[in-house]
């Protein structure tokens, strides 16, 4: 027998030890621990889900967020109020404009300023268009998570038109940074309303297409119906919000129930969609209906757009009087709120951001218990989170 070098011996010992570890994981009752993420195609970002498996069944699972923490709450403390919107645009990057709204509303509340009616309407239009841009990607991404590649391309194709409209007003496709304390930066460009209504019709036909391609598909139903059921009381206990809560049968929407004066939702005729089942299918279906509903809201606001200024009387240098305010709005992902503490300076003293996805994924360990590995993906996809919205 030829003598082994030290390196070969070490490699051999190492390999044996690795084999032993794998065998221990596979053969004991403890099961195998599968790390989904932080680098995993299904987590679209850097979420880590640790799942202990028995075969393909999940014994327990836990969520480990924080791989994308950017410290926005702290960063807001060293910026002036107009600068903060640039930052918080990047929390939920698919529906950026919606992130700015609750912060601006909280600052307006402290300064006791109200945006003029035209600004409120345009703000609501952009708010809903951010929702559409966000949810269209959800509908496309849903297909990919379940193995159908084609819907994604349709989603990106049609979202492009929504982004074009947002860009036409704000100059930014993803990060508009357009909302101002007391109103908006600019008025709408010429011809924008007619273009937008055409785009909304296009989004409605996209929703019909998704209904045919995905929601009417037997495999899609088999994969989502009865998977990841969250009863209403559990959903409320975990602080779920948005479509996830409404899919569990809770009729609660901040756009209607929040009593927010800075947005114009109470001036249009629209409906809050709910679904009694609470499973993955219900969550997806509610989002599909909300996308449609949002296009109707935009259409109605475009028709009844009041004239007038788009900016209230605001001092040139913005100083927010001392005080505390909490404003929560119904963002694409769910309830998003800013708790704003001011000491009368140029910038906020402290900002606490309540982002929807962070609360929404807190239910994941509860709902993943006992499901199969493919269902993890279905449930994560249907709970719908944006990593920036979890970690901030």
């Amino acid at each position: 027998m030829t003598a082994l070098t030290e390196r070969q011996q070490l490699a051999y010992v190492d390999a044996q030890a690795a084999d032993a570890r794998v065998n221990v994981e596979l053969e004991t009752d403890e099961g195998m621990i599968l790390n989904l993420g932080p680098q995993h195609p299904a987590t679209h970002g850097t979420l880590r889900v640790t799942a202990k498996l028995d075969g393909e069944q999940v014994v327990w699972a836990d969520v480990v967020p924080g791989y994308m923490h950017r410290g926005y709450e702290k960063l807001t403390e060293v910026r002036t109020y107009p600068q903060v919107t640039t930052l918080i645009n990047r929390i939920d990057w698919l529906g950026s404009f919606a992130n700015e709204v609750p912060f601006i509303l909280a600052a307006e509340q402290l300064m006791e300023i109200e945006a003029p009616p035209r600004a409120r309407c345009i703000r609501t239009i952009l708010f809903e268009m951010a929702r559409i841009a966000n949810l269209v990607i959800f509908l496309g991404d849903l297909g990919v998570q379940l193995g159908a590649v084609t819907p994604t391309f349709y989603a990106f194709r049609d979202r492009e038109h929504v982004l074009d409209q947002i860009e036409a007003v704000t100059g930014g496709r993803f990060h508009p940074n357009f909302d101002r304390i007391g109103g908006l930066k600019d008025d709408l460009p010429k011809g924008w309303i007619a273009d937008t209504k055409a785009v909304m019709a296009r989004i409605r036909s996209f929703c019909d297409e998704m209904e045919d391609l995905l929601f009417g598909n037997e495999i899609f139903e088999a994969r989502t119906r009865g998977v990841g059921v969250i009863p209403a009381e559990v959903a409320l206990a975990y602080g779920l919000s948005g479509a996830n809560l409404r899919a569990s049968g809770v009729d609660w929407d901040l756009r209607r129930d929040g009593g927010i004066s800075g947005l114009a939702h109470d001036e249009v005729d629209w409906k809050v969609w709910t679904h009694p089942d609470g499973d993955s299918f219900a969550r997806c279906w509610v989002r599909l209906q909300e996308t449609r509903e949002a296009t109707h809201i935009v259409d109605q606001l475009c028709d009844g757009l009041p004239s007038g200024p788009i900016m209230a009387k605001v001092p040139r240098v913005i100083k927010v009087p001392p005080g505390e305010a909490y404003v929560e709005t119904e963002n694409p992902l769910g309830a998003m709120g800013y708790y704003l503490v001011s000491k009368g300076d140029l910038g906020p003293f402290r900002v606490k951001i309540r982002s929807a996805s962070f609360s929404n994924i807190s239910v994941v360990p509860w709902v993943l218990k006992g499901v199969y590995v493919p269902d993890i993906i279905t449930i994560l996809a249907s709970l719908y989170f944006i990593l920036g919205d979890i970690d901030r």
């Binding site: 297909g143 159908a148 084609t150 391309f153 088999a222 590995v373």
Partner: protein, 345 residues
Amino acid sequence: MRSLVLAIELAWWQQTVLRTIGVLAAVLLPAGTLVYVFLFKMMSFMQSRLGPMEAGPYGSMQLLAEVGKWIQKEDIIPWRADRKLFAMAPYIVVMTVFLTYVGVPFGPDAWFADLDVGIFYILAVSSISVLGILIAGWSSANKYSLLGGLRAAGQLIAYELPMVLAVVGVVIQAETLNLQGIVAAQHEGAIFGWDGIGNPFILTQFVGFLIFLVALQAELTQTPFDMPVAESELVSGYMTEYSGMRFLLFFIAEFASAGAFAAVAATLFLGGWALPGVDLDADYMNVLGPIVLLAKIMLVAFLVFWVRFTYPRFREDQLQQLAWKVLIPLSLVNILATMALKVAY
């Protein structure tokens, strides 16, 4: 030893060289065509985009560019991997495809091996690939690979059965296992006495054809049966740790076996290399036959890829239920009905 190949007398070594080149061409040409026409172009058009357009006219050279890229890539073997098995696995999978093509006839004299048990041989060798996949899954020392490999094993075994049972119907009708015999039976047969177009078994064995297509989809691990490589769950399943040339081999195997199974389906159900009204023994069929068969391969592969680009994927348990509770009973009923009708007529 001298014998006839394509009606030309050749020495044994000459035949061997020719057959080797022939098998390579038979495996790689349909595979390349499938990748370009379906994966690159049809998928793109279905998804309202153009697909590759830069490399060559309409991106037709894209595949060469991709192959060049893969060959240049670093060949990474994970530190914990079982190196020998890891290196061997893709070759087993590719070899299976070559072995499958050996049994497929392309014309009256254009064949690699005219076996009496042709279809039996093809179904037998085609299931070797599951070994390669299982080895790849295990030897990668990766949990995703392991799950993917085991899923593949369960799935391929489950769908082998309906596939074999669907073929039994054809064999009963043709009264032979020999693929040339099955082609001839379809060409010369008659549907309840009417022999205008012969008897392509898709018309009389349509249940068998549907079962065969579904099982084919699963054997090829194409969506909706792509659990073993489900990219949103298992990253890339048993292929996760492979890179460079070895990944390329898996990729070739995937599309070449799509071509091989499509060729088998075309031979069993669509009349193989024959066309209605041609003379089966004519010499020109040795040239026309491969072209006809390729056209029929494209037709079957079109169905496979159309479904692939449209459907979401099954869950593992639903996939097994479909095989054991629906397809296998259905194919048994099909065999019974075929036998009854065969005896009656």
